[in-house]
Symmetry: C2
Subunit: 251 residues, 2 copies
Amino acid sequence: MRIKAIISYNGASYYGFQTQNRDDMNSIQDEIEKVLSKIFNRKIDIAASGRTDRGVHALGQVIHFDVDEESVDLYKLRYSINCMLPKDISFKEMKVVNDEFHSRFSAKSKTYRYIINTNERNVILDKLVYNFSRKLDIDKIKEGMNLFLGEHSFISFCTNNEGDYIRNIYSFTLEEKDGYLIFEIAGNGFRRYMVRMIIGTLIEIGLGNVSLEEIKEIIETKENRRVRYKAPSEGLYLVNVNYGGEEYDQN
Amino acid sequence: MRIKAIISYNGASYYGFQTQNRDDMNSIQDEIEKVLSKIFNRKIDIAASGRTDRGVHALGQVIHFDVDEESVDLYKLRYSINCMLPKDISFKEMKVVNDEFHSRFSAKSKTYRYIINTNERNVILDKLVYNFSRKLDIDKIKEGMNLFLGEHSFISFCTNNEGDYIRNIYSFTLEEKDGYLIFEIAGNGFRRYMVRMIIGTLIEIGLGNVSLEEIKEIIETKENRRVRYKAPSEGLYLVNVNYGGEEYDQN
């Protein structure tokens, strides 16, 4: 039986989602697998929609795992899991899905949020927002956001790994609230560091350090001209992962 | 020359405000004295309006310290201090005051905030609110709050130290917002654990575990009948310390 779970975590105290297979580098995956393995009394491995890096948070990360049981009381299971997990990780929803479902390969789109505080440093939100107390040109930033919309090669906006750099950005919004900038970006997928490098680039645009034309050219050439800007992890949230309709529902 | 500073900190990573004089137990005071001593090139001791316990936050804690210099550029000083401090401690305001001012003894009143999340556990705010996902009787809690208003002996609502237990609570408000309860309590002073024990008592009232009459009696008898309830530190914020008018201004 395959179980899908939507989980939330505060990434401040972890070396990222993925296990590092090291006792001195704790991960969200380690914590969850430890709890599930204890509950089911055998080693349970989980798969996620994708890793999140050290310090990155999640409101709606999705994982799946398989159990041998023929039926499980998901309400009780979720309660037990949440009691045993550290206080900064939580299972929000659980659902039985059919074997076609895979948290990573079935994902149709993802949404990330990035929060910048342009006011004086807010120490209370130290690890939850990027404290960047500088004046930014919001109009320029909004023009910059438009450059990323649609299908592009993001080869210059991620770390240099093999594979396919083409991604489609479906929406990219910015809400301003009391000096906080709240970006939301949705697309069919994101390469490692891609959101943080896009946000980092927008900050440089907002500071006037780089022109819209320059960024437009970097995007359009499709050559690897990796930008040097990467916003820090603490402002980044994986908001949700979308899997389309009901095709994975268990009958 | 005496300098007054208003500071803010996220207490999640510290063993409280006050120095523990131990290398393995960091404190806000240690961090600040380390930075000031480096800047002024001699040992600088600070005094605060009062200690805050492990895990408690401050939006407007007040400290003072003395320097030998005859004039100091406070703008530059604050900038240097904030660059050198850890990211979860910040100097918000600085001001030269006369020698009559003492951050602790001149304080006229203090305001604390306490935040309870009654929704499902919010892991993002893990160390910033008290996640308490239970249904509370808000009307009963409001009646309970009224019992504490005015001058009372708080001998049953603090740890058992020597001294005077009489305190005057000037105001006590509760704002409800999307399942979050935000208490603000102002008074001429608070004994150790007093706010947390008052909030803990209100939670028990809200759960129906203890009656208003019982609490009223405990307050009125003025005997030591210490309540067993103490809300955890993570929901508590020292909001500000009030010193009255301009009588400490440097001429």
